[in-house]
Amino acid sequence: MQRQLANMKQTLFDQGYLDEQFIQLEELQDDANPNFVEEVVTLYYRDSARLIQNIEQALEKSPLDFSKLECLMHQFKGSSSSIGAKRVKSECTQFKEHCRVGNADGCKRTFQQLKKEYATLRKKVEVYFQFARQIGPVEKACRSK
């Protein structure tokens, strides 16, 4: 079971969904804070929902307010970076680039891609957490990196 969990995590890393920041978060988890990573990730989901909604609304305006969009995306990039959401973060970077050069189509295209990456990440991370919960405290004792 443990190996399966480790493999799942390794796959998430190999496929570029997560980076070492996720490991940093896991290292902060201990007996006193056994659900730290899930708590942070839950906060991330809530914050992301807010940002996605705001960005969506901003993208419906005409003409686009690129500086506002860039500011919203900067926040999204920051929180994605804080949990190690590598692919989402990379889409955020691309989006910001489009904002910088005033490319409205680029922004809209990249945003669709970003939402897909975000949805995929959520699904995969949820599966990972569910599996980790099933294994329970034993996993914490021999967590492989």
Binding site: L28, L43, S82
Partner: protein, 200 residues
């Protein structure tokens, strides 16, 4: 007031406990920094809230200065309303607060920004996402006053004749002076620079 007072159970018991004020508009980053520092910490979401907490916003303050117990301020740079740099300037411009060390965090590795903050009196500049190794360095700096008193005392004597107290027992009458802190920060310019320049 959106202030999260985390783990400050014993902060009213006197001058012994080190207390940090963390300022960041991201709720995720506030949670992470609190867990990283593993120390008595108050987290606020903006510069203006920080100034209210510190009692220098001119309108209303949550604590009188006598009760204020902040040994370190760690703040994000990019925040709506007031940036970390503007907050730094306000703190360094206040006679009662300017001796509190301020650390800036940013996700953007912009040398001009870093230099500006350090010139304005920031003790350190950390790249986000903040990692355990950054916190280790901060913790060394926070604890060095207690363990390395002799060394710190010698360094201070070259710049400042008074023997200030250690960081851990930093009380309101003798907070760590910015001169001595800069002396300590200059001990590790290479590691700070190389970490900054190595970031993508």
């Amino acid at each position: 007031m959106a202030v999260e007072d985390i783990g400050s159970g014993c902060s009213s018991s006197g001058d012994q406990e080190f207390h940090v004020l963390a300022v960041d508009d991201s709720i995720i980053d506030r949670k992470v920094i609190e867990r990283l520092l593993k120390i008595s910490l108050t987290a606020v979401e903006s510069g203006s809230r920080a100034l209210q907490y510190l009692g220098i916003d001119g309108e209303r303050s949550s604590l009188g200065f006598d009760e204020l117990k902040v040994n370190l301020i760690i703040t994000d740079y990019s925040m709506p309303g007031m940036t970390g740099y503007e907050l730094l300037k306000k703190i360094k411009g206040s006679t009662k607060l300017r001796k509190i060390p301020v650390v800036i965090m940013s996700s953007e590795n912009i040398l001009a920004r870093i230099d500006r903050c350090l010139e304005e009196g920031a003790e350190d500049f950390l790249m986000k996402p903040v990692q355990l190794s950054d916190v280790e360095r901060l913790r060394d700096f926070m604890l060095r006053g207690g363990e390395d008193r002799e060394v710190v005392g010698c360094k201070r004597k070259t710049r400042d004749d008074s023997c200030s107290s250690s960081v851990l027992s930093c009380d309101r009458d003798h907070p760590l002076s910015p001169i001595s802190v800069s002396a300590m920060a200059h001990c590790k310019p290479i590691s700070k620079r190389s970490r900054l320049l190595a970031t993508d």
